[in-house]
């Protein structure tokens, strides 16, 4: 089972159109300039209350059937997945440990073997369902605001 890239592209565009005013109001910068059927990646820059910036990349391949893969990178978007790129409010794998992050699933090397990708819209422990890019961005924004620094 897979999703044509054109379908994912349209879903991402719809979600971004809805959440863009939220990102502007929350002073989040985002870059979807290279978004296309061949490149389903968007970048969002979050910050904590101290003003430290955290650079997240959402790879939306096969979205919305499956969730995006969310990874933190360096400012240049070259290096990724290192502790020092992560705010200290997530799993030290390092990983955003939520059902809406494909990286969290055991089948992709993440810590959660008990989760199935197809169930990604179910609630993560301690919360309710997070089912759109808009809600993912709001969730990350809220959590990262409260980060006191980096993991490493």
């Amino acid at each position: 089972m897979s999703v044509p890239a054109e379908v994912s592209l349209e879903a991402v565009r719809q979600d971004l159109a809805e959440v863009s005013p939220f990102m502007i109001a929350a002073s989040l910068s985002f870059d979807a300039g290279d978004l296309s059927a061949k490149n389903l990646k968007i970048q969002v820059t979050f910050r904590n209350r101290a003003g430290e910036r955290f650079f997240a990349e959402f790879d939306c391949s096969e979205y919305p059937l499956f969730p995006p893969t969310i990874e933190f990178t360096d400012a240049a978007r070259q290096a990724r997945g290192q502790l020092r790129f992560y705010p200290n409010v997530f799993h030290t794998t390092p990983c955003v440990c939520a059902r809406y992050n494909r990286k969290a699933y055991g089948e992709l090397g993440g810590p959660h073997n008990e989760w199935r990708l197809i169930d990604w819209r179910l609630p993560t422990d301690g919360g309710g369902p997070i089912t759109t890019l808009g809600l993912m961005i709001s969730d990350l924004h809220s959590k990262i605001l409260g980060a006191s620094g980096r993991m490493g």
């Binding site: 809805e18 959440v19 005013p21 939220f22 109001a25 929350a26 209350r49 409010v89 997530f90 799993h91 440990c97 939520a98 059902r99 809406y100 969290a104 810590p111 959660h112 609630p123 993560t124 422990d125 301690g126 919360g127 309710g128 369902p129 997070i130 759109t132 808009g134 809600l135 961005i137 709001s138 969730d139 924004h141 809220s142 959590k143 605001l145």
Partner: protein, 112 residues
Amino acid sequence: MAEEQNLAAGLEGKLNPGHRQDRCLHILVQTPRGLWSLTDPENAPRRPVYALNSKIQQIINDVREVFGFVENGNQYVLLHGDERLQPERTIESYHLDDGTLLILSVQGGNAV
């Protein structure tokens, strides 16, 4: 914005006839699903005009209803800039200006 101010004046008059108009405040709330204002969304069942002694929790309840944030279990928090507004406090206690933009933050769970 002029249209919003005129609407606000009209709504304040309806909410508090005969009272000083500064006892009500209209706000804007940006959510991940859209903006709540005196004009948006078009079919909203209520508008963000509040008596100053209203609790922040009332705004949260109302904006959830307007945008259908029915998912229980998530945390719904109003932010003014980066500041979390405490739900039990009143609007007046934050000294918000008329037309202030607030943000509804939706936060889900965190697995371990």
